[in-house]
Amino acid sequence: MTQNPSALDPKKSFQGLILTLQTFWARQGAVVLQPYDMEVGAGTFHPATTLRSLGKKPWKAAYVQPSRRPKDGRYGENPNRLQHYYQFQVILKPSPDNLQDLYLQSLAAIGVDSVLHDIRFVEDDWESPTLGAWGLGWECWCDGMEVSQFTYFQQVAGVECSPVSGELTYGLERLAMYVQGVENVYDLNFNGLDGDARISYGDVFLQAEQEYSRHNFEAADVKKLFGDFERAEAECKALLAFGERDDKHLMVLPAYDQCVKASHAFNLLDARGVISVTERQSYILRVRELAKACGAAWLKTDGAGLVG
């Protein structure tokens, strides 16, 4: 097989764009992690962000996170909204003074030319009611398209961030559409090859989008999901109780997984439209309670940098 540079070119291949971002942030000293192996709505849920953003210990990480948003399913018919898509997540603690510049440099690295495109920081204060987290920042626009979320975390899991982390979340498909100049996400060139060897985003994901949209809106078993939620909630609490040791905690991460599970069950139920407005609030609160308890437990571990 001959070497094909397009396979790594961020302007020609989806994978090239991911690799370029990884390289860029690795050069900035970030730990390049792999995706968390659970269903999450956003890269923020990865413990490398939620939990690591708590406590004093400096931290820099970057990773791709497959993100599931059941409600965003469009049966493969929307040009840029997917119920499963890839986020590229960067978390830097403490937030560096030149974070905006670094972000713009990373865009330049993947071929977004700021002389040709209109890049904008538009107010979008981020809040995750389920995570008990909020921060101030922007959605970053490229020619009117929201391609990233940029946040200075102020609070996570109910805990004041000290110091504040900077979080960048790139919407990879939308960025790739820009640099590749395609109108529809499914037309993205995934591997950068031409002719028969070309694999498009649609080749990889179109069928999945159709099937999961059906699943999310029509088929997901509501009763089972309510059960999933209850069980995950109970398990999370049980594990937190199990790990409690005076001023230390020995079982935060497994407990946190259950919090993530409850959150996803809730998202699916929400997509099925079976949660009323009042109930919705109480489910959100229940997940938040779990997240807060996990955050508090995390602060008692070495990971937070307070102990040992």
């Binding site: 840029n80 890049i119 538009v122 107010e123 559409m177």
Partner: protein, 756 residues
């Protein structure tokens, strides 16, 4: 005189906060200066996405000197008192104090403290950092490593640089020496983020503005708005289109750019099937772009205008194309929502009812809470149906249509489009109703029942719309009054003032002869009666309407069920509240009406004069005010008022002596001795009878005309007759005559409240 240039350069400031922040900056700094005796000639402030700038002109170089005299203890006072005095006055010894003598010859010390005014530069060095530290951002944040320390600097977004220069126009200004959050004030700022990112060394405002302009930053937001509006109109005109102007959006986009460049984008004409309001809402909310109208069709064009922050090297082609792509994706979502709403709803389609009815079923099934104490949206819909049906005949509407429109009025709240764009509520309901073949009046009422939304909004006048609009608003008002959630001060979270004004406007503009008390009781009854097989709700309701005994309704409430099915007895407080609602709400309506009429130019004393009569038929109240206003402008009216005042003043004075009500008895004909008093008496007989008859016929002009015949006899009476006659019985009779005159005039309005 010297000028200050002060700039705070940060990461992007939210557009919606910029104007207030610029105003706050100016106020905080100038107030602090004035407080320290530093007056200035002029101050202006500006904001861009990345900077807040303040320019103050004409400050003196230093504060005025101050001289203060401080009185001390007597000469020879104990040592401790002397020491305290010296310390507080800052004197080294008593030699520095003066000795004064008071009136009684006692001698005491006086310290003269002279304070030299500090240089303005020093004062600024104290004021400016304090302003930054205490800036009233609606939301502020911490950042960077410093955020882990105690009391870090907070700003709306990370703050990067500060310019603060001060000096006379003719000299090189000085840098105000201060540092805050590790940032030292200096004379360096930066140009446009992409077009000219370099550092700019500035001296004072003039060169600052022009250097920024050269570095592609238009400092003044008003100027950026002008550029945008002007270019938008030009571009639209060139394509034969019209800009759909949007003041709010214009302000917002001007806050998103430092160098505005307007570009035109395009989307597939097929999307024009989506209702124009939805297209506009989508493009506005998500993309912050302006839409265009095609004068040929009257509808929207498949073009839009975007405001870019850069002058791109390809003239903006890529930017316009990129925005077009996003707009297309958004419209594709909107189209998806719009079509989904027209189809069957999973889990609710079994009934085979039309799409909007399925949404209503979902609304009911979800038990969406309207307000914790007022039940669900479904219950609210039921009340509105009942009330609208009842109001319909009174406003000339078909009760069945009013009921149907009420039934569907809130169904669009669970549609996808309204979920995404709440501002399209009502309108979407109407569209979907039309699509499922509802009656045209019903469909229109679904949209119009929310109207009027504000003082400039259209008032519904189609009878079905009127019935539903009144029912909706009355239900809300009565409900919130019943649970004691009334507007207070500037707080009116449920927009109750707007609802009350809406009711007033609808009644007046349509000339509806409805009594507020009936409207309130009618709506209240549906709040108090809950469907319950044990209770014959309607008869109890009728009872309530006829005998107005709220305890009947409370009797119903007593048997109301809680969620758990227990029977709850009403508390005494609940009873009192129910009984108080009618009175309080009537007073609230009266207040709103007064404010509304005053805003539209009515004299407030005339409002008081008419409102003093009571009454709750708004149409009559307003007609009476109008007639009164017209009457007082005539000569007859003016002099009748003068006669009235004279009579009233005399009565007031004499009532003080004889006691209130002393002259209420009818004057006796036998005791009328003078021709003039007999004439007034006779004139009053006819005038009152005529005025009475006219009032019964609701002809206020005629009533006032009738009273105006009293003018001549009243004038003659005062000319010729001595009221305070020597004979007590004559005096009393004459005063009774005046009292009768006062009562007669009060038939049309309380003239005592009318100003001179």
């Amino acid at each position: 005189m010297s000028d200050l240039l002060f700039e705070l350069f940060s990461e992007e400031i939210p557009a919606r906060m910029q104007a207030q922040a610029a105003a706050d900056l100016k106020k905080l700094v100038t107030d602090a200066l004035v407080e320290r005796g530093l007056l200035y000639e002029a101050a202006t402030s500006f904001a861009t996405p990345r900077r807040l700038t303040l320019h103050i002109v004409g400050l003196p170089p230093s504060q005025p000197d101050q001289r203060e005299e401080k009185k001390g203890p007597r000469v020879g006072a104990p040592e401790a008192a002397v020491a305290g005095f010296l310390k507080s006055a800052g004197l080294a010894s008593l030699d520095e104090a003066r000795i004064d003598t008071d009136k009684k010859g006692g001698q005491f010390y006086v310290a003269v403290i002279e304070k030299k005014g500090a240089p303005t530069l020093d004062v600024l060095a104290e004021i400016l950092p304090a302003t930054i530290k205490n800036f009233p951002w609606p939301k502020s944040m911490r950042w960077g490593a410093a955020s882990a320390e105690a009391n870090p600097l907070r700003w709306v977004r990370p703050l990067h640089a500060i310019v603060a220069t001060f000096g006379p126009e003719t000299e090189e200004p000085e840098i105000v020496p201060f540092e805050v959050g590790g940032i030292k004030a200096g004379n360096v700022t930066f140009g446009h983020r992409f077009l000219a990112p370099g550092a700019l060394k500035v001296r004072r405002f003039d060169d600052y503005v022009s250097k920024l302009y050269d570095a592609k930053v238009v400092l003044d937001p008003a100027r950026r708005r002008d550029v945008i509006l002007h270019d938008c109109k030009d571009l639209a005109f060139a394509q034969g289109l019209e800009l759909v102007e949007d003041e709010g959006l214009l302000h917002e986009v001007a806050g998103l750019v430092e160098w505005p460049v307007v570009l035109m984008g395009e989307f597939d004409a097929g999307f024009l099937d989506i209702p124009g309001e939805v297209i506009r809402a989508t493009i506005r909310a998500n993309q912050k772009c302006f839409v265009l109208r095609d004068p040929a069709t009257g509808g929207l064009a498949n073009k839009f205008l975007l405001v870019s922050n850069v002058l791109a090297s390809d003239g903006g082609k890529a930017i316009a194309a990129g925005n077009g792509r996003v707009v297309r994706a958004r419209l594709s979502d909107a189209l998806y929502f719009w079509q989904t709403d027209q189809g069957p709803l999973p889990d609710f389609s079994a009934s085979g009812k039309p799409p909007l009815d399925q949404r209503l079923e979902k609304l009911r099934a979800l038990n969406i809470v309207f307000h914790a104490k007022l039940g669900t949206q479904g219950q609210r819909v039921d009340r509105i149906i009942a009330l609208a049906r009842e109001l319909a005949p009174k406003v000339g509407a078909d009760p069945e249509k009013a009921a149907r429109a009420s039934e569907l009025a809130k169904a669009d709240l669970v549609t996808e489009v309204v979920g995404e764009f709440p501002e399209t509520q009502g309108l979407m309901g109407r569209r979907y109703a039309e699509l499922q073949g509802e009656d045209a009046e019903v469909a229109a009422a679904i949209e119009e029942h929310y109207k009027p939304q504000g003082p400039t909004d259209r008032i519904p006048n189609a009878p079905v719309s009127v019935a539903v609009a009144l029912a909706d608003k009355l239900d809300t008002l009565v409900g919130f009054w019943a649970i004691d959630e009334k507007p207070t001060g500037s707080k009116d979270p449920f927009a109750l003032r707007r609802a009350a004004l809406g009711v007033i406007r609808i009644i007046l503009e349509n000339g509806l002869r409805l009594r507020l008390a009936d409207l309130i009781d009618g709506a209240l009854a549906w709040h108090l009666t809950e469907p319950d097989p044990e209770i014959d709700a309607l008869s109890a309701r009728e009872y309530l309407m006829t005998v107005k005994h709220l305890d009947i309704a409370v009797g119903l409430a007593k048997r109301r069920r809680t969620e758990r099915g227990e029977i709850v007895a009403p508390t005494g407080e609940g009873y009192l509240r129910a009984a108080g609602v009618e009175g309080e709400l009537k007073a609230f309506f009266a207040d709103r009406l007064k404010i509304d009429l005053r805003d539209r130019g009515a004299r407030h004393d005339l409002l008081d004069a008419v409102f003093a009569l009571g009454g709750d038929d708004l149409v009559l109240i307003v007609r009476r005010i109008e007639a009164l206003d017209a009457f007082l402008k005539t000569e007859d009216g003016a002099s009748l008022l003068a006669g009235y005042k004279r009579a009233a003043n005399i009565l007031k004075a004499e009532e003080k002596k004889d006691g209130g009500g002393a002259f209420e008895a009818a004057p006796s004909g036998d005791l009328l001795v003078e021709a003039e008093e007999r004439a007034l008496f006779a004139a009053m007989e006819t005038a009152t009878a005529e005025a009475d008859a006219a009032l019964k016929a609701e002809n206020f002009e005629a009533a006032m005309q009738a009273l105006s015949t009293l003018r001549a006899p009243t004038d003659a009476f005062f000319d010729k007759v001595t009221v305070n006659a020597d004979k007590p019985e004559l005096r009393k009779n004459r005063l009774s005559l005046l009292s009768k005159l006062r009562r007669a005039i009060h038939l049309v309005a309380d003239f005592s409240r009318i100003g001179g």
